[in-house]
């Protein structure tokens, strides 16, 4: 639920010397992304994607750097980032498993899939395995109802899933 807010005003901010948005990336974005839009703010989503793709998630320091880069306030960037499901404001595992739980997938047996994953990974939805390899999440309709049940593992859509084939699939991931 996008509208449930967390208190971020008093939360400690972890910092590191090395920037998340380095000069090379900035130059790339400046040349490639910024000119596509009439305002700098419109580049917020693509820039958040770019930084997250590189670092796996969006630490507060990265949000501040993005705000500086776009000429915005950190709160404005955080406001946007916290609204969308795909932006991670806390670390996630190497593989993000997003199992579709919308109606067609539920009709076609998404529950058995979830049971298998809970059992195999030993985590609840929203949690990451201890070794940091897998994060288990739910997704709303992934737009592949004809091949239900389906799941997105990082950027790849896996279709016609069963407890057995998802088991084999996860075992094969390095």
């Amino acid at each position: 639920m996008a509208w449930i807010m967390k208190n971020s005003a008093t939360a400690p901010v972890a910092r590191r010397a090395e920037p998340y948005l380095d000069e090379a990336t900035k130059a790339l974005l400046e040349a490639d992304v910024i000119p596509r839009y009439p305002t700098r703010r419109a580049s917020t989503l693509p820039v958040l994607h770019a930084v997250q793709d590189r670092h796996g998630w969006l630490p507060t320091q990265a949000i501040e750097e993005i705000a500086d880069f776009l000429g915005l306030k950190a709160s404005e960037v955080l406001d946007t980032a916290s609204f969308y499901e795909m932006y991670w404001l806390q670390p996630k595992g190497k593989y993000l498993i997003m199992v579709c739980e919308s109606i067609s997938c539920e009709l076609m047996g998404h529950e058995k899939l979830m049971e298998k994953l809970h059992h195999k990974l030993g985590v609840e939805v929203g949690e990451t395995t201890k070794d940091g390899k897998f994060t288990l999440m739910h997704a709303e309709c992934l737009g592949a109802c004809d091949t239900a049940p389906c799941a997105l593992i990082n950027e790849t859509l896996h279709e016609h899933l069963t407890p057995d084939n998802i088991d084999a699939l996860l075992d094969k991931l390095p």
Partner: protein, 454 residues
């Protein structure tokens, strides 16, 4: 009468004309070799206003959910003032049961790009943003590649056959969303495009007057634009030979249901998938001819006619025709996205309602109290009823809640609340028995019954 030949699926093998396992990405060269971009060339030879007239004459209606006539929408734009104007393409497809745009983007992205260029020419729009949902990673990549091909071949960019528009080279940009159903709502999409949270705007002003970045903007669905190429190529009259004609006695001012349409079938059928057919095909015919009938020879229990926001039909409505008039004929919200979901006799409607309520509670953007609170409480109540802890009183309350949310115009900003209302209310009304079985009987007279008895 069945569709004589595929239009949107011309290059995408689809039953009965081809085998879906043969589907491959259509490249620029293949697209052109099979008559692609001919519609654009013909449109380019016409005055912009004349192109809008052709789309108006075809009576093409939006394929994204609301069914608004595309030509009329294009005609709403104010006169040019030399400054920027935008096209935003709605590829946010997230309505449960809908996966048609997914197929078009997967295999024939140039069909969309052709429609985009036609719309830019007709409406004098200098930049097109294709807002594609974040979860469509592969499709976004394919689209980016196709856009590159289009730039290289003089569709967009400095060598564009459109010439300069508003003093600029026509541009086409792929913009990825980040996982929010509400960004499919047209003004939520605009806010998101501007880099903000996807909160729908209060209308008016309508996007045609003040849309993206405060400038005149056209928003159309992927499928709506994809059909524009074939219409410009073969003409409005050709388009109107397909679909469901206007019934006798209906005045020409009432929009009809012409043309072919992509239908998605999912749920308990033998061959789920996307199929192309005339608007006006019966649900039963679609399921039996294309979907291969209901799985395991079971009987039908419930049908979602066009994405869950449209509500649910019962088995006795199996022969309802899928066209833009379905809302009036079958007491549902409308045709929606034409994503049909079939549920067989073994389906329990309590978890179905719970699932749908969860979807809306999860995706409500939270701006309007009736929607935010209503969807949240519906989900909580349905979870309780499913767990066996509900009472008859909960059912009454649920019915009242689902029936009032978004029902009064002006109490919610966008149509999400209305969709949640139709979905939950129609399930309750049509499958009351499933719910009654789950709840404890409590001696309780609802307020409405009590006041009516006085």
């Amino acid at each position: 009468m069945a569709l004589a030949e595929p239009v949107l699926c011309k290059r995408i093998p689809t039953a009965p004309w081809g085998d879906p396992t043969d589907r491959k990405l259509v490249t620029y060269e293949q697209f052109v070799a099979t008559g692609g971009y001919e519609g654009l060339k013909k449109a380019r030879a016409l005055e912009p206003k004349a192109v809008i007239e052709v789309i108006k004459a075809s009576e093409l209606r939006g394929r994204g959910g609301a069914g608004f006539p595309a030509g009329v929408k294009w005609g709403f734009l104010p006169p040019e003032d030399g400054k920027r104007r935008y096209l935003t393409v709605n590829a946010d497809e997230s309505e449960p049961g809908t996966f048609k745009d997914h197929m078009l983007l997967d295999y024939d992205p140039h069909l969309l790009l052709e429609g985009i260029a036609i719309c830019m020419h007709a409406c004098r729009l200098d930049t097109a943003y294709i807002y594609i949902r974040g979860e469509y990673h592969l499709q976004a990549q394919k689209l980016i590649n196709a856009v590159k091909e289009a730039y290289a071949n003089g569709i967009f960019g400095p060598t564009s056959l459109l010439g300069q528009i508003n003093g600029r080279d026509p541009a086409c940009v792929v913009h990825r969303g980040a996982g929010a159903y509400i960004c499919g709502e047209e003004t939520g999409l605009l806010e998101s495009l501007e880099g903000k949270r996807g909160w729908p705007r209060i209308k008016p002003p309508f996007p045609a007057v003040a849309g993206a970045f405060g400038r005149p903007t056209i928003i159309n669905n992927v499928e709506t634009l994809a059909i524009c190429g074939p219409i410009m190529d073969k003409g409005a009259e050709w388009f109107k030979t397909m679909g469901k004609g206007r019934a006798a006695g209906v005045p020409a001012t009432v929009p009809a249901s012409f043309g072919p349409k992509l239908f998605g079938i999912s749920g308990h059928v033998n061959r789920p998938g996307v199929y192309e057919e005339n608007l006006g095909i019966k649900i039963s015919e679609l399921v039996n001819t294309y979907g291969g009938g209901i799985r395991g020879g079971k009987k039908l229990k419930a049908i979602v006619p066009g994405g869950i926001s449209m509500g649910v039909l019962s088995a006795d409505q199996y022969d309802t025709e899928l066209d833009f008039d379905i809302g009036r004929k079958a007491a549902c919200l409308g045709l929606g996205t034409a994503g049909v979901i079939i549920m067989d006799e073994d389906t329990d409607m309590v978890p179905v309602a719970r699932n749908i309520a969860r979807f809306f509670a999860h995706e409500s953007c939270g701006q309007c109290t009736p929607c935010r609170e209503g969807t949240g409480w519906m989900y909580k109540m349905l979870t309780r009823i499913e767990a066996g802890d509900g009472t008859t009183r909960d059912l009454d309350l649920l019915l009242e809640l689902s029936g009032s949310m978004g029902a009064m115009p002006g109490t919610t900003i966008c149509g999400l609340a209305d969709g949640a209302n139709w979905a939950i209310r129609t399930i309750l009304n049509k499958f009351w028995g499933d719910f009654e079985k789950r709840v404890r009987k409590e001696r309780y007279v609802s307020l409405q019954v009590a006041s009516a008895a006085k």
